[in-house]
Amino acid sequence: MSLPSTRPLGGQALPPRGADALIATCPATSARGRPVMLSGSFRLCRAAAAVLGCAPHRALTVALVPGVHANAVRVFLPFVSLSLFDDDLLVQADDLVGFFQVDLAAYDKLDFDGGYHVCFSLGRLTSPALPLAMR
């Protein structure tokens, strides 16, 4: 699978119906020089998607915060320049559902020793800040 990807991993669950949601996962530890796979999914109603002004995947934002060093925060839009297609989204009633897989190591050397927090956002949605320690 080439990354970033909009394909679901095997067994990856859909976000529950009923509300907009962004669900993301990140490994707690990883090794430098190895891929750091971030994966997740989102559910957006059409009105929320329209506010983005672009395909939802293009608006998916990953922020990488090293320790408490706000001046060293790195922010990425993994899908901003990727070709996207209609079938990258599932349509469920009035909702758009999408999946994503991203290799964080493709965007940063991850050479900070003190540990990171990885945060995902999509429009008004955010995920919890996920800790990441590099070995």
Binding site: A63, V75, A129
Partner: protein, 168 residues
């Protein structure tokens, strides 16, 4: 809150204003407020003024867990993340206040709060305020659309606010 309330906020200050979000009693977390509309300059040379108000609910225990033995300042450690999806822009940074900053990694041996137990430290809560002018992160942007802003401080993440960017 009316957008005019944000005009009264001194950029990059650390005081509480009428538009600063209230923090529930003893709550730990980040609470963000921003104007709902921002006029972006027609030329790329002018930096817009985008002052947002962050209230930081913190405890001594949370401070200890976030900064270890250091004497870090939550205001300095808060990172602000901005995205303007329609423009393909995502950026982030701290509050730029022009003041000399304390080295967040430097231990403060004389801090009496270090003597508190975790239980005592959890009971001591406080609220800090940061009112950064994030216009520097939007410098050169003339595209109308929606700008989304949130703040991150270690494991804490704020609510996200949407700001309509309109042309001058």
């Amino acid at each position: 809150m009316d957008d005019a309330a944000f005009d009264a906020v001194v950029a990059n200050s650390t005081e509480e204003y009428a538009c600063s979000p209230s923090v529930p009693e003893n709550a730990i977390g980040l609470f963000l407020a921003a104007p709902i509309r921002l006029v972006v300059p027609a030329d790329r040379r002018t930096t817009p003024r985008l002052v947002v108000c962050l209230s930081i609910g913190f405890s001594i225990l949370q401070h200890r867990r976030t900064f270890g033995a250091g004497r870090g300042n939550p205001v300095n450690a808060a990172a602000f993340i901005l995205t303007v999806p329609v423009a393909g822009l995502a950026t982030g940074g701290p509050m730029i206040d022009g003041k000399e900053r304390i080295d967040d990694d430097e231990p403060n041996q004389a801090d009496p709060s270090d003597q508190l137990s975790d239980e005592e430290a959890a009971a001591h809560t406080f609220v800090d305020h940061a009112n950064p002018d994030l216009g520097y992160l939007l410098h050169g942007l003339t595209t109308p659309g929606t700008c989304f802003v949130h703040a991150v401080l270690g494991p804490l993440i704020s609510n996200t606010v949407g700001i309509a960017l309109v042309r001058a």
